[in-house]
Symmetry: C2
Subunit: 363 residues, 2 copies
Amino acid sequence: MGKRVDPFDVGEEKIDYNKLIKDFGTESISKVKNLPKGISAFEKDLVFSHRDFDKFMDAVKKGKKVAILTGANASGSLHFGHKLTFDSVIEMQKKYKIPVYIPISDDESYVFDKVKNQKDGLKNARLIAAQMIALGFDMKLTKMFIHQQYTDIYNFAIKLSKKTTNSTIKAIYGFNDSRNAGEFFYPIIQSADILCPQLDVFGGKKHVMVPIGIDQDPHVRLSRDLAHKLDLIKPATYHMKFLSSLQGGGKMSKSKEGSAISLSDDPSKAKKAIMKAFSGGRDNVEEQRKKGGQPEKCVVYEYLEKFFEDKKEIKKRFEKCTKGKLLCGECKKDLAKFTEKYLKTFQAKVKKAEKNVDKYLIK
Amino acid sequence: MGKRVDPFDVGEEKIDYNKLIKDFGTESISKVKNLPKGISAFEKDLVFSHRDFDKFMDAVKKGKKVAILTGANASGSLHFGHKLTFDSVIEMQKKYKIPVYIPISDDESYVFDKVKNQKDGLKNARLIAAQMIALGFDMKLTKMFIHQQYTDIYNFAIKLSKKTTNSTIKAIYGFNDSRNAGEFFYPIIQSADILCPQLDVFGGKKHVMVPIGIDQDPHVRLSRDLAHKLDLIKPATYHMKFLSSLQGGGKMSKSKEGSAISLSDDPSKAKKAIMKAFSGGRDNVEEQRKKGGQPEKCVVYEYLEKFFEDKKEIKKRFEKCTKGKLLCGECKKDLAKFTEKYLKTFQAKVKKAEKNVDKYLIK
């Protein structure tokens, strides 16, 4: 593999998506002929790669048994990067009435050192569960569980573990023996998550789709390999493009201060971060007026396009910007206003959802 | 380590106990000054080695918080080899009112290929649970659980996993990367078992003792290492001598036909196996009458001594045998009679206990 993009460490540089497709041996989404209509992620070109997504959509359209699997590491609150993926799932769920499974991996957060202790992992997991509800999943069609609470996932992992040698884990994840034993076992738990919708207890064999960042693709590879060995249907996936860091120059990340907007950030803090964001503007106002802005490298533009404006609105903004009729400060103010408003509404929903979390969690 | 004695593969040869003590770096039980009185395992010299057993007995005698941990792999019914260990625990429990913890590891059976599938593992585990009750544990003082049912043990294992590198697992267990991922993780689950009596949910820090065959000592080493890292009390252990195969020439084993008497064997089948057992008798009756028998190498004598006769009775038998007044057939008949009677009574108790198993299992 050329560029190192593994599930546990994503680099800083701008991503070359065609190279990633080649490196990971996936397919370009542009080749899929039966993309779902009216789903923002596809309309807005936020997806670049896939495995068997065409087969999954075929199953959806033929009315076969299907499910979407989408989860989160409980390292902290969800951020806008997650929201992109979950919004695409919510739209798919709404349009096609697809059952969704949401495992929240607080064990992963602990073994990979993202939380201080398991208690903090569980606390984050419960916040995330409330955030999932607030994002708008149809909870009647959604099965959500937290690993520390639904420990039965361990039994399924044990089944899968027998079909996986340590060499395979090393080859897929690049681990060496200085990794802790939980890190080594975690890929098996992840595969158990991805394949669990096909368990008898969850209605048996079905087409499962797992939309993820390509940095998580090793998990999909392992689970596809295991599906083959267990006579299950290989899960499909589509890979979302990364959301840029607010500061520019790489993928947004929870672990870098000022890089990400968390869904639990104080709206005024988010506003401040946005006002300092990388906009790709010219050196000064005169030059901006003369040459026009550069929306193709502007993070503010990217966020407005991905989260807040429809095709028509964003096209208008693009034109105004490139013609020098829009200054970066104005775009930042717009993005800050949208974001502030969104966060206020969303956080009120989360507060309400927190009271009902146990109603929706499988234990 | 000289002789290879690991938890997953015990050799055939006669065991040199002094060499084992040296190889495993344990202490001879003969050096312990505060051995419990009136416990058959010690009266009959069935224990040869230990770690911190003196400290454990000290804690018992000072009225400190203590527990005994003793479990079983759910590879099939318990056999007489297990019974020896459990009887020693039951006597200790009765004498000192010690809480006992019994994890039954049906996950171990599956990942180490001792059962065809997890369902069979669970079935065996439930039989073992009933056998444990029938053996005579004081169930008011006993906490028993099956891994596939009490999956919360996974959470504690995750805590421990973070303190153990893959290198450590390899060094202690001699695994290579062709082992499956479940085998690699299982030692962590074992340590979780051994240390679980010290969990807050089970009453917090206490002195734990885990009587085992020395082939299981790597588990104790790992858990002692982890106890140290987690500021828990290092578990103590004593090592039982191996029970010989009925056919002679090595440790009794469930996996070798005719080698072991299972506690679920049909009494008449057990009788037949005993009548074919290795007795160490002379070539013919005349020689036996002339030279006397060789109880020190007789498996029939060993079983009579370990399971059915008290000091006085066995001494009498020894004398009669060595003087040529007892033929092997007579001893075999005695052992067969005792065993048949024991199995009938025991199996009736198991049948009754099977109905109450769920009452006693933590889930």
